[in-house]
């Protein structure tokens, strides 16, 4: 089983599918980022729970809070897209699988983009 790859292929270490560990690795990278970002979310939620709108705006007018908010939206949307992809691949077979994978991608990007836009607008105060 080992004799069919050229030395170049072995050195590249990519295997027959051309890719292998990015999915696993990206899930870990975003998971590590999310530990910090969820701590920020907890702090934000405790600071702003029940707060009126001007306080929310004032909070996100701080550059650090806005940056963390944007990073949270990006990291979480990437992480949840990969996670739901695995769940769909495990349980959904047949004709609905690919549409659901597409729907998952669109949903994750939509939530991420909308949250980034909201945080940006709060930061700019427009």
């Amino acid at each position: 089983m080992t004799g069919y790859r050229t030395p170049l292929k072995n050195v590249r270490g990519l295997g027959s599918a051309k890719r292998g560990t990015e999915h696993f690795w990206l899930q870990r990278v975003t998971a590590a980022a999310n530990i910090v970002l969820i701590a920020f979310l907890v702090y934000t939620a405790l600071t702003l729970a029940g707060a009126p709108k001007p306080e929310v705006k004032a909070f996100f007018s701080q550059p650090i809070a806005a940056v963390f908010g944007v990073l949270l939206a990006i990291s979480v949307s990437v992480h949840m897209r990969i996670g739901m992809q695995v769940i769909i691949e495990d349980y959904v077979h047949g004709a609905s699988k690919v549409p659901m994978l597409l729907l998952n991608t669109f949903f994750s990007i939509f939530v991420g983009a909308a949250t980034v836009l909201a945080v940006t607008k709060l930061f700019l105060g427009v």
């Binding site: 870990r28 998971a31 939620a45 729970a49 709108k53 929310v56 949840m80 939530v111």
Partner: protein, 150 residues
């Protein structure tokens, strides 16, 4: 599965009977690590849709007073508070489950006792963190429940 059909090729005259499947979840006594594994996926899926709650709050704050008022009102209803409490636990549980998986990624903690310990710590930790967060937020929600629906 395709192999099984091929190997039965010599017996084509007989109709194919449903073959026994390998035993699955039903033969296992539930272990805490198995329960935590299932809960990790369940909470992950819950957080997937829970992200809409966070998005709705931020978008409404960026949108208008009336949208922000609607979202704030919904969050302060009994159902809203229960959903937020559940979402808090779900996020904390998935977070600690992720840390447990990070420990396992380093090939540590696989001894039987440690697997059970880490699994129990995930559950106890998530409940504790949820309790601490809601205790810290108590001044916000105390007026929402006393005399209203308790």
């Amino acid at each position: 599965m395709a192999d099984a059909k091929e190997s039965a090729g010599g017996l084509r005259a007989r109709p194919m009977m449903p073959r026994p499947l390998s035993p699955h979840l039903s033969i296992f006594r539930p272990y805490i690590n198995m329960t935590m594994s299932i809960l990790h996926r369940v909470t992950g899926a819950a957080n997937y849709f829970g992200s809409l709650l966070l998005a709705a709050w931020l978008i409404s704050a960026a949108a208008s007073d009336s949208w922000f008022g609607t979202v704030s009102w919904a969050a302060a209803t009994p159902v809203g508070l229960i959903v937020l409490f559940g979402f808090t636990w779900s996020v904390m549980h998935h977070l600690l489950g992720g840390i447990r998986h990070f420990i396992w990624d380093t090939v540590h903690g696989f001894e039987r006792g440690n697997v059970r310990l880490l699994s129990w710590l995930t559950l106890l930790g998530s409940l504790t963190l949820t309790g601490l967060i809601w205790a810290a937020a108590y001044p916000v929600w105390e007026n929402l429940i006393w005399g209203k629906f308790l």
